[in-house]
Amino acid sequence: MRYLSRGFTKIMSIQRQDSGNTGMAELKKRKYGASERISIFDDEFMPHIDSMYNFAYRLTFEEDDAKDLVQETYLKAYRFIDSFQKGTNAKAWLFRILKNSFINNFRKKSKQPAKVDYQEVENYYNSDDIDHSITTDLRIESVQHMIGDEVSNALNSLAVDFRTVIILCDLEGFTYEEMAKILDIPIGTVRSRLHRARNLLRDKLKKYAKTMGY
């Protein structure tokens, strides 16, 4: 028995620590067998491809770039599959890889400004926001009458960082904690960025409502 190959014993070993979803930087001692890798890939990774593709499309606005980005992400995910703990939050893990791939390879190509100068301030809430015309200028009725394209355009017009948090939170339903991990920022920053993004989105919707004559 002691002559079993090292590879075999590695495959047979069960990971000892329950350390959750860590980044790719820290490779685990576990090593899945080939068929196990494929089953994790097919059962846990591939089901998220719709969300991934739509996210990629909203980052790049081009079908070919979106396809490249998604493919690169999935191939990377497969390469680093050993650092993924089976049964844990695959969607967040994949989104994180995608976001990093986007920053590394695609952001330079993006037609939008690379960085938005905004301040991440904790004390950004102001009840003046609700006292002044915000609620009266943008009526709920106008918003309810909007069609998908109008909302989509409003979202697309936001700078990429703001667009991203809205997509992750409102479209994909990630929690603040998941978003913090995906974007590699503190939860406080997730919240302040969301707040700012929503203000901007509301302004865009207000403008659309006006031009549509709502």
Binding site: I38, F41, D42, M46, I49, D50, Y53, N54, Y57, E63, K67, V70, Q71, Y74, L75, Y78, Y125, N126, S127, D129, I130, D131, I134, T135, L138, I140, V143, Q144, M146, I147, G148, V151, S152, L155, I166, C169, D170, L171, T175, Y176, R191, L194, H195, R198, L201, R202, L205
Partner: protein
């Protein structure tokens, strides 16, 4: 003093506090206590109630009206092929 009265005294009419809670409520990140004090406030404050409703409507709009793009089929095939052939 009962808990309800304490909340009411502390938060009713305090819009700044309410705003801080609003997005937590919207995103399902609020604790039960926070939900309670928020509800008490918007029951008594028209501005905050309308603001909250507006934000809720926008969130629903995003979720329900934005159409998702179908994934190009050749992408799925390409990925599966490459993974199985170690490319």
């Amino acid at each position: 003093m009962g808990l309800y009265k304490w909340f009411k005294r502390a938060f009713a009419g305090n819009c700044d506090e309410c705003l801080k809670l609003l997005e937590l409520i919207l995103d399902g990140e609020a604790s039960d206590e926070q939900k309670k004090s928020f509800t008490i406030h918007i029951d008594n404050c028209k501005n905050c109630y309308e603001y909250y409703n507006l934000e809720l409507t926008i969130k629903k709009l995003l979720k329900e009206k934005i159409e998702s793009q179908p994934v190009p089929l050749d992408l799925v095939d390409s990925i599966k092929f490459k993974v199985r052939n170690n490319l």
